[in-house]
Structures are given as structure tokens and as C-alpha cells.
Amino acid sequence: MSARVAGSALVEQLFLQTPGAGVLTGPDCVMGEAIEPLSATHVRVYLQVREGQVVQARYQVRGCPFTIAALAILAPQWAGSPAASLRVDADGLERILEAPADRRGRFLLIEDALTQALSACATVLA
């Protein structure tokens, strides 16, 4: 059971290059986190937010290739957007990554981490 059984060339590229991976620390940085214990998937979303605008977005992840690829799509998109506009479009990710339906839970996990980061944002940076 090795090798790439699922996933497009896009997933492969994102998995290998993981654009936007990393952490953010600093006064205007927040972190949101979510864990799914059964598969031990663990997602952390880092946002640097200034005046409602996301300056930088980063992530840490222990998860399946689709989870990693999804974060590698989202984080670069988030950077430069208004914080209020950040979303995780699970349907869209499923489509673009050609992900099997059983990965939806992982995308929702990313949404949980994002939501937590955004609420930390509201609290900390308000």
C-alpha cells in the first residue's frame, strides 16, 4: 500500500511543495487549531491580521495528502484577503482536488481551525 493511489497531479504538486506551510508568531498573529482523534489529523492555521486584512497565512498539518493539499491551496489565497471573507469551501476543494467523499471531514476540520483563528482574531485584535 504505497504510492499515489488517489489524487491528481495538482494534489501531488501541492503535497510536495506545500506552499504557505509554517508558523507565524508576533503580536498581530493568531492561531486556530483542530484535531480529529481517530485518524490523528491535526491542523493549525496561523493568520497575521492588520486592520481586518490578512497579511500572511500559514499552517501546520499532520494529515492525509488531501488535507495537506487543501491547506496549500487555502493559505496563499487567504493572504491579502479581508479576514471577514475567509471561508473553507469544502465542495470546491473536493472538486478541485478530485478528493473522495470521505475526505469532507478533513476539510471541515480545516474550517474548524480557521473559525478558531478568526475568533481569536476578534478577541485578541479587537
Partner: protein, 380 residues
């Protein structure tokens, strides 16, 4: 591609290939036919039967050819339990057996048999005392494998056989992974029924054998019925080229054992030595009692699927290839007490006659790089 999945299936030895090609090119004869072509085919089958018997030190008459170890396991378990059902309807096996054994035992349960599935210890070993305690007056059969296909753990069959013999319980041993890697003789093993594989040891897929002890001979109900071949235990026109291939694979394994077994052990030891340099890696199953060709390692802190995805050039397995495609983490590793995530993040490396030290080094390097990268990506 670096092929380290020999426990799933192993490429034909060139000598086996040549023997099969010769058999395939022969003017065919149905071995049951009484004309010259048929008699020639029959002679080739008997020569192969002698080759198979020689490796496990059995009498040729005790070898029944089947279509593979799955069928052998089922013929042994369903066949012996059904034949003995008037004497008792309790059969036992172990949590870490191959699906062919576990599913055969489940089928017996659906037929109204009562079944016990014993739990091995964290090393994968089964104490004879555990068996002793589980045997009931109506127990007729125990099935325990010699070498576990996921972990390589070697079970102490002789001690188990002693218990079974004392208590009048038939013992079936799945030796599919042991053949050619862990030398054994059916006599010292002490089992009544032993499943033998071909394609795990560089023979063809689609053929196998069941050793059926001769004195005393356990009664077996065949799985299916027809022309009376193989002592009516396994009917159907006998596939000469397949059996010739299996025979040659056994002869080769026999001839090469003395040099090949230590070499395989050296390769898995070398791999473990490399991988051990990583933090938080765990060898699955007993370190002491293990077959030379299998190494099963869990990598903490990485996702199992991502790990496999990160190693496209490596043909390895996580769990028995027979049930791959099953997203569930290995039941064998969980039976040894590994938690789900760790069981998931484990790789079974299995080496064979074609595996080189260089491949081992490249595989180790690739795995270490992948684990390191994935761990760096993850929250601590």
C-alpha cells in the same frame, strides 16, 4: 521502483520461469487421461510433489495441491471442522491470523460452530498456557500461523502442537510465509495440517498445497467436488505448469536456503539499523522471534496515508496485501496493542531473492526523508 513487498507476492525465480515455460510448451495432456500425454503430465506432477515434500520433510503422499494458500487454509479449517463436527463443534484461532483463516473461522461460526479467537501478547506471541486454558471438551481444531505475514513474528508451534496433541485437538498451521524463509519439518512442527504457498517464495500465483498428516490422517470434507483428483480432496483438472512451477520454486528454496536466509535477515537488519536512527520509530512484533524477510515499523507523528503517498517509488505494504484497499488500520498491529494512528503509520517491508543492499539503503533514505519532512510539517 524499489520492490519491498515480497510477502505480498514475489517475482518468479528465473529457474521457475524456465520450468513453467517448458511445461507450457509441452504437448498438453490431461493428467487424468490414460494416454501417453496424460501419463507424462502425471509424472511431472509427482516429481513436483516430491520437490514440495522435500523442503518440508514430508512424505509426498501427504501433499495435496490446491489453488493457493487461501484455499489450503479453508480446506484445512472448514474441511477438518466439518468432518469432525460429530465429535465437537468448537474451533479456535488467533486474532493475528491471515484473513483466509479468520474468515474461514467466521464462516464456521455462521454454520453454528462455536469459535474462540485468542489474543496474542504485545509481541505477537501466543503462550501455550493460553491455548491450554481455552481448549474445551468439544474443541476439535486450532489454527495458528507459523510466520505472521504482517510482522514476521514466528510462533512456537512445536510447544503449541504438544498441547494440542495432549488434548486431542487437530492443529492447522498456515505456513504460507514460512516456506523457504524459516526452515521447518512437518514432523518437528507437529501439526496435522500445514498450508503451503508458492508465490510467496518466487513460485507462480494460483497454486499452493496443503500438507495432510498421514499417520494418523485427519478426516477432511472437501470444499468442492468432482473428478476425484488429489485424492478427491481437490477436484478439477490439475494445472501441470503451475504445479511444476511450485515444485521448482521449492527445489530452489531448498538449494538456496543456506545462503539466502542469512542474507535476507541481513537485509532487514540493515534496514532496521538505518530506520532506528529516526526518533520515535517502533518495531512491530517480537524482535527475537522473527522471520528474516519481514520488517514492520511504525512511525509516530506522521499520517499513514501521507507517508505512503510520499514514497511513490517504494512498493511496500501496510498490512496484508490480500486485504489492501481496506482503509482501516491493520487489525494485526491493533491486536498487538498499537493505537489506531500508529498502526496506520506503519510500513511492512519484505525482502526477497532480488533485493539488494543498495535497494535497502535507498529505501531507508527515502523513508527517513519522508518521515522527517512530514514531521516538520506537523504541529509538535
Amino acid at each position: 521502483m524499489i520492490y519491498l513487498d515480497h510477502a505480498a507476492t514475489s517475482a518468479l525465480d528465473p529457474v521457475v520461469l524456465a520450468a513453467m515455460e517448458a511445461a507450457l510448451r509441452e504437448p498438453t495432456g490431461n493428467p487424468s487421461a490414460l494416454h501417453a500425454a496424460g501419463r507424462a503430465a502425471q509424472a511431472r506432477i509427482e516429481a513436483a510433489r516430491a520437490q514440495v515434500a522435500a523442503l518440508v520433510q514430508a512424505e509426498p503422499e501427504s501433499i495435496v495441491f490446491t489453488s493457493g494458500a487461501t484455499e489450503s487454509d479453508n480446506l484445512a479449517i472448514l474441511g477438518a471442522a466439518r468432518a469432525a463436527h460429530a465429535r465437537g463443534r468448537h474451533v479456535m484461532t488467533v486474532k493475528t491470523e491471515h484473513r483466509a483463516v479468520l474468515d474461514a473461522v467466521s464462516a464456521l461460526a455462521r454454520e453454528g460452530f462455536s469459535t474462540t479467537v485468542l489474543k496474542p501478547d504485545r509481541e505477537g506471541l501466543l503462550a501455550p498456557s493460553v491455548i491450554e486454558q481455552a481448549i474445551r471438551p468439544d474443541t476439535t481444531l486450532l489454527s495458528v500461523m507459523l510466520v505472521n505475514n504482517e510482522t514476521g513474528v514466528i510462533q512456537d508451534i512445536a510447544s503449541i502442537a504438544a498441547v494440542c496433541g495432549r488434548r486431542g485437538v487437530l492443529l492447522h498451521v498456515d505456513a504460507a510465509q514460512a516456506v523457504g524463509r524459516v526452515p521447518f519439518s512437518v514432523a518437528t512442527l507437529g501439526a496435522d495440517l500445514v498450508s503451503l504457498a508458492s508465490h510467496k517464495i518466487h513460485g507462480p500465483i494460483g497454486v499452493g498445497a496443503l500438507y495432510v498428516r498421514h499417520h494418523p490422517r485427519p478426516a477432511l470434507m472437501p470444499l468442492f467436488f468432482g473428478g476425484g483428483q488429489e485424492g478427491a480432496l481437490r477436484p478439477g483438472t490439475v494445472a501441470v505448469h503451475q504445479i511444476v512451477g511450485m515444485g521448482m520454486a521449492y527445489a530452489q528454496a531448498h538449494a538456496l536456503a543456506a545462503q539466502e536466509i542469512p542474507r535476507l535477515a541481513g537485509l532487514t537488519a540493515r534496514l532496521w539499523q538505518r530506520l532506528e536512527a529516526l526518533p520515535a520509530v517502533y518495531l512491530n512484533g517480537s524482535a527475537m522471534h522473527r522471520a528474516p524477510h519481514i520488517l514492520n515499523v511504525s512511525f509516530a507523528g506522521v499520517d499513514g496515508e501521507a507517508l505512503r503517498y510520499a514514497l511513490p517509488e517504494l512498493a511496500v505494504s501496510s498490512g496484508s496485501a490480500c486485504s489492501a484497499g481496506d482503509p482501516e488500520s491493520s487489525y494485526v498491529l491493533r491486536a498487538l496493542g498499537r493505537e489506531d494512528a500508529l498502526a496506520n503509520a506503519s510500513l511492512r517491508f519484505s525482502v526477497g531473492r532480488t533485493t539488494t543492499a543498495d535497494e535497502i539503503d535507498r529505501a531507508a533514505q527515502a523513508v527517513m526523508a519522508a518521515v522527517t519532512r512530514l514531521r516538520a510539517l506537523a504541529p509538535v
